[in-house]
Point group: C2
Chain length 420, copies 2
Amino acid sequence: MTASKTNAFYAQSGGVTSVINASACGVIETARRHPGRIGTVYAGRNGILGALTEDLIDTAAEPAEAIAALRFTPAGAFGSCRYKLKSLEKNRREYERLIEVFRAHGIGYFFYNGGGDSADTCFKISQLSESMGYPLSAIHVPKTIDNDLPLTDCCPGFGSVAKYIAVSTLEASFDVRSMAATSTKVFVLEVMGRHAGWIAAAGGLVADHGIPVVLLFPEIDFDRERFLARVDALVKAHGYCTVVVSEGCHHPDGSFLAEQGVRDAFGHAQLGGAAPVVAQMVKEALGHKFHWAVADYLQRAARHIASRTDVEQAYAVGRRAVELALDGENAVMPTIERTADAPYAWRIGTAPLAQVANTERKMPRDFITEDGYGITEAARRYLRPLIEGEDYPAYQGGLPVYATLRNTPVPRRLAEFTPG
Amino acid sequence: MTASKTNAFYAQSGGVTSVINASACGVIETARRHPGRIGTVYAGRNGILGALTEDLIDTAAEPAEAIAALRFTPAGAFGSCRYKLKSLEKNRREYERLIEVFRAHGIGYFFYNGGGDSADTCFKISQLSESMGYPLSAIHVPKTIDNDLPLTDCCPGFGSVAKYIAVSTLEASFDVRSMAATSTKVFVLEVMGRHAGWIAAAGGLVADHGIPVVLLFPEIDFDRERFLARVDALVKAHGYCTVVVSEGCHHPDGSFLAEQGVRDAFGHAQLGGAAPVVAQMVKEALGHKFHWAVADYLQRAARHIASRTDVEQAYAVGRRAVELALDGENAVMPTIERTADAPYAWRIGTAPLAQVANTERKMPRDFITEDGYGITEAARRYLRPLIEGEDYPAYQGGLPVYATLRNTPVPRRLAEFTPG
């Protein structure tokens, strides 16, 4: 490895989003604009596992058009993984292996694209590289649909899920409104968000369009009687209502609604499904016909209705990560700084990873209405710009043109290694 | 009512679609182009119930821009209903009431926008008007996401659901492909289709993009062992697979997968949810981590990703319905006639309602692969043009601009009437 021509490593971590590849695009395109300083960007196949097992992908083998197409392609083009490195004390071997792989391939820039856990991993790697005397710029590229990272106004990935949920809630509410006179009166949509209600909050934006909507947040303990009274009142006033429930909505004792006593033929607790539980509850107590949907992966993969704001921010944090590395920064993360609500303005800032790791940002209480079932004007001001703008992919034969890369492997130079 | 200035009645029936309002737009805009022959288009509030209860909407009170916006607005702008008129013998009173309301408001054109049941109702009304000596042109405007009407190559409403399902299946499959190394290996998407597998078939279009997909049709009896063997083989070959299951998928004895022994806390059979049942089955037999989604109303309301072909056809059948009425036709339905597959070409034909009523068109066996889990090239040729083209609504503040009409009531002229 020479100072003038250092290779880079990029990996995707955790649950993917519809715009994480836009960050990859930002990283790779920016690196390619500095051929004098950055050699090749190697991507980890299946995230950090690719580094541990020396399963690297040569992104230089991809033509510029393929890299440009990443901006429009959902999910993780190089594969992601759910693999949390243990603490340095518990598994120093893995961290040392990473440094060994980086050394073998002349990698001096480490870009890790993920959420809170990945920020933590990235921070630990930066510490180890210092203590091992191996020079590395470790930059975290923020990504999470859950919008729960601290120190950034929002997280790339969230705006597009928020747009998908807001649009879908609006459309399905128009449907139930049409049917309510003789059929369905309550529609329940389950959305992601185990600990934070940011995604459910996006469903609340349809209230601007006159839709009666009840939001169920993980931040608010579920109260059956109060919830049913709210639904009853809305159906009486409007003839119908829509409920958006976070998968993480729970009873005061912490048990999830989704676990509420639903058993399969073998008596096993049925996994998932807060929406059917809520719908059934409404049916039993109020007698209304219901429909329910569980958006699941559809919401976080829906590149076809991505927010342009989100795509631009996802690209920008990827680009800035490379610029920070070239500036000699280490153990930092580019952030989104909001400078104005309306018209919305933002710029990229920087946060030290030491402050990012293992902090989860929930919805502020003043973003949730006093009764716990809606969002406040402060929340609307925050959310509106994040879903602003469309950024449609090209279509061919009725389907979006999404890129599948060649993912050419880089020849191995080291002995085998078994993670874990 | 004078021969030169006859009013029209339009109503929406059954489950709504993302393009049924495009048909309404076609009817109303075309009627407005014939002011010398058609007076006012009255819409039934909540479908045929609006006619029975004399709850009519004056569409003349809507400006041209509001009517034009219907083309881009999902669901039923005037309200739909699930209300099936009994046979003439069993409830002649209701049919006579309809004629009475039509007579009171000078209505000589009856446009009924719905599926098979509505075609039947429309046909009966045309017969009764003849026997009662009341001149009426009764024209059925086809609509159903299920694509199960006979005599038409496809049904307006289906192409957009097919596009939504194909796009969503593609996107979610990219997601599970990214995660498969360490996490989710099987993704299950439940789609509508109680008796016919047309919607599930659309999920099969992603096989063109290299996605390993298993389709579960209502037309094919479910075979647990064969299905699991298929999923196992695909996961072994590709690392992951996607399953698209029709809500109507059933065991050889006719019982739905969705009913398979899932009980809530009270011991009631859990309604809905073929997807969780299939996912749980895969988990128990093969041990794979899964995710599942139920698209429900989201699929049929998704105007944001409507097929342009579908929107154009929905508009065209509305327009032609009015032209047929002006030509003195009665008891007919405009149909879609395909004249070429690729490049796709179509025109509007006509079918007599006597042949439409109560016939349900399922997927032809030669559209389904021999093993029952995929679609054939014949099915692809059929489906591809139906999802072709995009027709995006305008957006404001990140959300689509959908019309909510004034729905001004027409003063009543008759005594009250209680349907049923």
